[in-house]
Structure formats: C-alpha cells, structure tokens
Symmetry: C2
Subunit: 394 residues, 2 copies
C-alpha cells in the first residue's frame, strides 16, 4: 500500500483486492498481473507506469517504472518487465503457474513480451474479470460517484446561463466544457475499447442529432472534422432546433454521465412528446434498476415503451441505432453492464448505470435525457439530479 | 477512395499508400491490415471503425463497420472481421500469404481474433513500419502542420491576455484551453503508447515543474488528482515563479507542440539565464535539423550546450529526467523520431520535430521553450513562430 493514503481508501482497496482475488481463484488462476492505467488506478488508487501483481491470496505487489520515488508496503521500483518474476521470488511471493493478464488492453507486442518474461507460466486473458469487478462499486467508489454526480448536475443546470443567441453548437459546447473545467473537471474522458474516443462530451443540435458516427456511443453527430467525427458540427443554433448536451464529468477519476436537452425557441410537438416519453422511460428504468433485474429485460422495457408511444423508428437513433439504452459508468465511461437486447447481465447493488433513452426527431434533432443512477433495493437512486424537462433557451 | 474527397487529398493519400507499399514489399509481406484510429486516419483520410487493407501493390480496400452509409471506390461495409478474407476474394484482391498487422496497437484479443480469421496466413507486426512512414510528412500533411502551427502560435501569444493576478495554475490553464478551443481546437490529444495520456496540455508553475509523473513527457507535474498525475497542481501563482505552458494544438487531426514560459514578476537570475540557454539550444537544434542529421548527435549537441552552461543537473528535469530533447509530432504527439542519446534515426526532409530544451530551477520552476519545426535542407523551419523570450505577466 502506498504511503500517505487515507484509512478509508486503504480499507476500500482491500475490499477490491479481495473481490478480484475471489474471481481469480474461481478462474483457477494463481494471480493477476494488471498493467493498464484504468486497472492500476482501480487496484492501486493511483496511476503509475508499471504493474500490479495481485496473487490469488495475500497482498499485492506494486511494480513501479515511473514516477521515481513512490514508496509503501509492497512497492518496488522496476526498470523492465523481465525483472518481475525474479523480484516476486525475492519478495517471497510464489511465481504463479497460471496467471491472468489484461488481454483486451495489453497490445499484442506487450503480451508477447510478458509471455517471454514468464516462460512456462500459463497466461490467460483476465480483462473480463476486472470489468466485472469494476462494475460493482465499493463504498469508497460510491462516495466518489455521488460527489461527482451532484457536482455534475449543478454544472449542467448552468448550461443555459452561458448560451447566447447566434452561437454555434461548438461555441456553446466550449462554454459548457469551460464550466465543467472551472468546476474541477480533470477533462480526460476514459473509454474502453481501442476504437472509442471523444473529447469531453457531445452537443448535438438539429439535424446533427441524426448524423452517424464511427464511435459506439448512444448518438453520434458529424463532428467538426474527419479526424474526430463525433459531436457538434459547427451549425448555428436556430429556432426550432433541439440541442442535446451530453457532457461527462470527471472530478476524481470516476465519470458520471448526464444528458439534458434544450429547446431553441419552440420545438415541434412530436419532439416535445418524445422528450416526455424519454423522461418516462428513464423513470421506469430507474424504478426497475434493482438487484436481480436482467439487463436484457430493462432494454425490452424501454423499447416497449417507445413502441407503445409509436416512436420505435426514432428510438436511439435513426439510420444507425444504438443497441443499448444504458451502460455502466465509472473509471471508464462504458463500464459493464450494457442494457442491451442480448445482455446476459444481472444487476447488482452498487452498480452505477447511465440510463439514456433518446430519440431523434427529423427536422428538430435529438431529444431525451440521461442520468447516472446507483442500483439499490429501492431502485436506481439518481446521482445526477437536475431538471429533466426541456429547457427553452431562447 | 471515399466519395467527396478533394483532389489534393486524393493525390496525397496515393503518395502515402505508395510509400507504405514500398515498405511492405521491403519487409517481404503481401499486404497490411491497419485497424487503429490513427493509422486509419493516415491511410484513409478519415476515421471509421473498421480496417484498411493495403496490398503490397494495387489499391486499398476500406472495410467499414461504422458509420453506415460511407461510399466510394474500394469501400465495403463489414459486420465482423471474419468476413474480411472472403470479401477480399470477392473483390478480386489476392488474400495475402504474409500480412502485417498493428502489433503495437491491436490488443492481444483482437490480434488473436484476426489470427483465427486468417488461418494459414503468416502475421507479422508492422506497427514500426507505419510509424516510420508517418514520421515523414507528405505535402498535404505539411500544409496541415503549417496551418496548425501558425494558428497555434497565435493562440499562445494570447496566453498572457487571460492571466489575472491571484489565479492558480489550473485556473490559468483552463483559460488557455478555452482560447485553444475557441480557435477551433478539436481538443483531443492523441498519443502513442497505452500508458500515455494527458488532457490538452500541461501548465507547470513553480516547484510543480520538478514534480515527477508516470507519463513519459519531457516534464511532468503532479496534476490535480491521483487519477491523472500530470500537469498543473492547483498552486496559486506567486511572484518569482516561472509558469511553463505546454498546450498542444489539434485543428485538423495533426498536432503541433509549442511551449512558452512566463515569469510571475522577477525570476531568479539563474532561471533567466537557463531560459536563455534553452533558446540557444533550440536555435542550434533547428539549425542542425537537416536531412542526414543523426538524432543521437542532435541530443548530444543539446546536452553539450547545457553542460557548457553548467546546467546538466537540471536539464530535462531534476529527479527524473526525460531522455530526449525532442520528438516527432503529427497525428500523435509522440511520432518518430526521438532525439535521444540512443536513437539510431537519421533526419529526413519532411519530418516535423518538436524541439524542447527545458530546465528545472529549484525555487523558481521550469524554464525553456518548445517549437515544432519542419526538417529541410536549410535546417528546421519553425512552424510555431511566437516570441521565445520569458514574458513577464505581473
């Protein structure tokens, strides 16, 4: 454990290790060597360049390549991965026979190098196991998610204050990003999956709500340039457009997700109605977000309500539809589980879910909302409480 | 080729393909299947989710999973990588016997999946080959680097305008980020290497210039939180501190790098002198940045000048020193080559290099500068021209 950690964080890391260790033993492995920034942060409470070795039983070893000077129990300086095996022995930790690595995060080259470092050790991909553990937040993590969500919602509530008539979607977005940074956002937007990327969030105005994107987010947007084809397109905001702001918050390394839709003047009646349906779906999803609920059934619940409202065709996109209505969030914006039609996941208390029913209305744009909720026996507790209604901004 | 591209981009992509194809043939391979966002942007001029297959001779095939609706010569819709091999045959492209993949970018899982899709095909890691090709910019890319650099420098020149007495480093940084976004920055900061990450740049004030970081940038900074330990630390700017602003620019998918140092009031004489030495090193490096120059010798040149000035101990950091004084930049901030002591690289015309001699002065902070230069027979042409001197801001 690193020197200088608060007792609360120390205890919480202990809980995370025990949970992962149980999963490692269940998988018949002797240990996990984690290496991605995301999982090092999860298992060590800080980011460093190196590795965390968590044996199936006992205390973890932290192999730190950078920065220099970190200290604490089980903290060892490392120059290169070839040293790990020998250092484990010196540190009186048994070198594993079967070891888990992050096969979904390690590059092929890095996996191959580790494979040479651990000749004779059976290596298996344990990425899914860490995703599963990260999906259910510990009490310390829930504390951070709550603090993040409530500050997030307060910033979103101020988005209309920085709107000015005649702005483009990009200009308003920049003002929103600035509010978020001023409130302490670290800015960085961590996302799982090598082909996924975005800046701090997306602001979709008018027809850009229907624009399709390479990225597997709920909605896309054309973006400002072919090198980042997602989000605002530079369109001038005009009467009758909806503007959907989906800007993430990251104050302490944990992301909450929250979307609100604004109306430039008067929106078409269908858009207003669809927004109301989205609010109702979000309410129904939260009410159902209890331990034991099936993710595929939550998706079916949302789709059924959209169908009943005659809005299937524009639910979660038009030409290219998102195949989910919600997802876990935490250290990355797209944690497990996914609320999609083919999910086999079951909700557990402590999961944090972004619920995001959205519609795209031709001629108006995207409408709908998103909140991050904490799964509990009483249903999903909203962590990002702010007015869900369409707010008219001009 | 995608529908709607300007003739200039089309021609330029043709040049990139030919260059990569020559390297593929040199490596004895029959084709390259690229898959990372960075290399898809490089080879296709846009980002999509999917693959670019570039045979050793002939036209590329673009396999697009997302978004739907893209069209053009050689553009095929794909659901999953298992289809690629069959689609190549249908498209009358010979399935390769030896194929290059991005082994440094593909995850172990994704490489393994492709390996099953191409049973019997010899797969080799071609990441270094694409890095080598990307290092030397084409004429279209040079045009984008020039446009980016000159707009970048104009924004940096305005950093003092948004400074206010009593600000923290973070508050000033947010204002700088906003200027950059207002000028059209896409915000996203692409970097090679799984453990490398940052927001839009770093602003290091006072002793935070000496703080070490997990990330392999020239200098570090403690950051605002353990989940992103790099950059500004939240310190209030005070008389006698240097403030080093290293904020990248990305307007068109290509990053330029530029650092300027500001003085809060009067700095210690040693800091002022070290800054002047940095300017001289940067000049000397640019003068030497001609085709044929050796990267290790450029590093030695910089180190020698620091030594002569009696500043070796604080050159490129104190406790943890960067082992380079410059690096390529382009689609990612850390392109090839690296100007380091063990580099074997030789400069070529068309390379774009960030030259960044920096010193850390105890009690004052980081000083020095960084410019992005284009390697030419006349030496490095500065793409980020703005006043290199210490600017006193209070």
């Amino acid at each position: 454990m690193f020197t200088g950690y608060a007792a609360e964080l120390k205890d919480d890391l202990g809980v995370r290790w025990q949970r992962v260790q149980a999963l490692v033993r269940e998988a018949g492995a002797d240990g996990f060597l984690a290496s991605s920034n995301v999982n090092i942060f999860y298992l060590a409470g800080r980011i460093f360049m190196g590795y965390v070795y968590l044996p199936a039983e006992g205390r973890p070893v932290f192999f730190v390549r950078r920065p220099c000077g970190l200290s604490g129990e089980g903290v060892l300086e490392l120059r290169k991965p070839e040293q790990i095996s020998g250092m484990l022995s010196e540190f009186k930790v048994t070198v594993p026979k079967k070891m888990m690595l992050e096969g979904d995060e390690l590059s092929f080259s890095d996996w191959s190098r580790l494979s040479s470092c651990f000749a004779g050790v059976e290596l298996v991909n344990g990425s899914a196991l860490l995703r599963r553990s990260r999906a259910v937040k510990t009490s310390y993590e829930i504390g951070l998610m709550k603090k993040t969500g409530s500050r997030h919602a307060a910033v979103v509530a101020r988005f209309p204050n920085v709107y000015e008539a005649g702005m483009t979607d990009q200009q308003w977005a920049v003002e929103m990003f600035r509010l978020m940074l001023d409130a302490g956002s670290l800015g960085i937007f961590r996302v799982a999956g090598a082909s996924m990327e975005a800046f701090m969030g997306t602001v979709l105005a008018g027809d850009n709500g229907a624009a399709v994107s390479p990225y597997d987010f709920a909605l896309g947007g054309a973006g400002m340039h072919n090198s980042l084809p997602v989000g605002q397109s530079g369109v001038v905001l005009k009467d009758g457009m909806s503007v959907m702001a989906d800007v993430a918050a990251n104050f302490f390394g944990y992301l909450t997700d929250c979307t609100r839709t604004f109306a430039v003047g008067r929106l078409a009646q269908e858009a207003v109605r669809a927004h109301q349906v989205a609010i109702e779906i979000r309410e129904a999803l939260a009410a159902a977000a209890k331990p034991g609920a099936r993710c595929d059934e939550l998706y079916a619940l949302a789709l059924g309500m959209a169908e009943k409202a005659g809005l299937t065709g524009c639910f979660m996109g038009m030409k290219q539809k998102a195949k989910f209505v919600g997802h876990g969030t935490g250290i990355v914006i797209n944690e497990q589980p996914v609320l999609g039609p083919r999910s086999k996941d079951i909700l557990e208390a402590g999961m944090c879910l972004a619920l995001e029913p959205k519609f795209v209305i031709a001629g108006t744009g995207a409408v709908g909302i998103e909140d991050t909720v904490l799964v509990s026996t009483a249903g999903g507790v909203n962590l990002t409480p702010c007015d869900p209604d369409l707010v008219v901004i001009a």
